[in-house]
Symmetry: C2
Subunit: 339 residues, 2 copies
């Protein structure tokens, strides 16, 4: 038989299509005996729902959309995305929800994709990452009236849930640690300045610097690429009164920075301490290995997916979920200052 349908089940079980639909979806309207019989027949002929037919009736598409708007070049290297993706996946697939993925150039394109996915009813919800300051996507998502979860920015997004980590506390812990080690000239090689998490980190550094009376704490912005990470490091190390410690917003940039220090004959950690604001094998493989702010990115993905399924189940119940704060894992790239 070519692809069994509920009509086939109905015929074989001697009931109507409607009864089959009720039985298969676990809703009232059929007796337990009939339900069991229908389920048995469905099993027998190996019936599977036709997702399109379901979606047509206005029902769910059983899919969630994720659009990543970063240049492919940086994307390929960042371990962050792949791990986040794995986590999202794990949770979604346990709920039989598929992930629609798209990689685009910019936010304009991203918004366009959102519009078409929603109007084509391809997805039931959207996962937004890399939240920007005054992010235009929030308004679009609200206007489209589709459940959404923002990954990486704290709450207050109206009907949109959010899942985020306390970057501020993490940055403060790193700066305090460096201060205890005697560092006073601390620099920060950050990511794109329009990202909210970048701003939170830069601000935390400034605040800590003021409180701890550290001069010249400054943030240099980059596009997250290893090239710009290296360039920023070169600039920092070449100037007068160069920093004795640098905090990088990603492990990739930290590794690139470490390379520059080696090139320039600056000893790590004796002359320069390095902290990576993201941990992965990368940070552990280098020599010296990198002290890092570590968190379970996979788990972060799982939590984001859970927030998504929660808001899918009840769109009125959005939540603002703060996850584990990245913990400082000390390795070989940090040490007390010499004096």
């Amino acid at each position: 038989m070519q692809r069994p349908t509920i009509a086939d089940i109905a015929r074989r079980a001697g009931v109507s299509k409607g009864a089959v639909s009720f039985a298969l979806n676990g809703r009232p309207g059929v007796s337990e005996a009939t339900r069991a019989r229908i389920l048995r027949v469905a099993e027998e002929i190996n019936w599977r729902p036709h997702s399109a037919a379901r979606a047509l009736g206005g029902a769910r598409a059983d899919a969630v959309g994720l659009v990543i708007a970063r240049p492919a070049r940086t994307l390929g290297v960042e371990p962050f995305f792949a791990r986040l993706l794995s986590g999202l996946q794990a949770e979604f697939s346990s709920q039989s929800i598929a992930l629609h993925l798209m990689i685009v150039e910019d936010t304009r394109a991203e918004i366009e994709i959102y519009r078409s996915w929603v109007s084509e009813r391809r997805v039931d919800g959207l996962v937004l990452i890399d939240l920007k300051v005054r992010d235009p996507r929030i308004a679009v998502v609200e206007q489209l009236k589709i459940p959404a979860v923002v990954v990486g920015g704290p709450g207050r997004h109206g009907r949109v849930s959010s899942v985020w980590a306390d970057d501020r506390a993490a940055m403060l812990s790193a700066v305090e640690y460096l201060a205890v080690l005697g560092h006073t000239r601390i620099a920060h090689v950050s990511g794109l300045p329009e990202f909210q998490h970048t701003q939170r980190r830069s601000r935390a550094l400034r605040d800590a610097a003021t409180r701890l009376k550290l001069p010249r704490a400054r943030s240099l912005h980059t596009d997250f690429s290893d090239a710009q990470g290296a360039a920023a490091t070169r600039k920092l190390l070449a100037g007068a009164g160069r920093p004795t410690a640098i905090i990088y917003d990603s492990d990739l940039m930290a590794v690139a920075g470490l390379g520059v220090a080696l090139e320039m004959g600056v000893a790590v950690p004796h002359e320069l301490s390095i902290i990576s604001f993201d941990d992965s094998v990368l940070a552990q493989l280098t020599h010296p290995s990198l002290t890092a702010l570590s968190r379970d990115t996979y788990r972060f993905g799982v939590q984001a997916a859970q927030a998504m399924t929660a808001v899918l189940a009840d769109p009125t119940k959005t939540k603002n979920h703060k996850t584990e704060t990245p913990r400082l894992i000390t390795r070989e790239s940090t040490s007390p200052t010499r004096n």
Copy 2:
């Protein structure tokens, strides 16, 4: 108005639903004047196709499926997947084809996903990666009668297209290069032995060793993780008559191996040359930087996607597309042997 449908267009344009369908799909049956009028109305009311409704009529889902069956742990780090994904994406999105992505634990689960996606008509085609020796997925895909493209294994898969690189030639070029530098004891830290590309590389090494009369050329299998890459390196360097050159199947393992060499006081490249069978920023960031077999993985993804769209357009026309052979990029991790 709540979500315009073709019925709305038909009403406003004063024609039938059928005419609208013909006009929107660029097929004969309407005059140019009417077609233009219909398109204008569709534009006006901002109509978008309802993908589910289309798919229901047996038409295309405009989506392609990709299932990755590797442990999340290794996945997160390999730059390879992210770059391949970007390439696939770029091509698919230019054709307005969405990508259905799923990450699973093993091939059994992968096959199960294929079955449900196909029977739920979620995808029009499948992209298979990490081809194994006597891969059970080939038979499943043929049985499901769904267009498919195999990434990474050469042809002869019946109705399935394939896109692959000449691992053998690449391995031979690396071994010959090492031989010219005077190396005779060459080892290979490979990936999972059940993968076809692993086997092709191992066999190429054996053949080259025989031809060039190199003793002890051997392959050590790993699971692609940095941990096993490091372990294999340790084993190789600890033994008597240790190799003077090691070829790693991925840049991640090469970096891990480099770390082990440093730990054990084996100088690279003076006492040990290292070649990575995969290139990325990772290989360039280390010190010394790694000589690598490089290819444009992004482009590889694009080509795979093109093979997919070709076979979607005409399922009878499968092709066996050999892509660019990885070229050896020499960097600092290889040098002539000392004697």
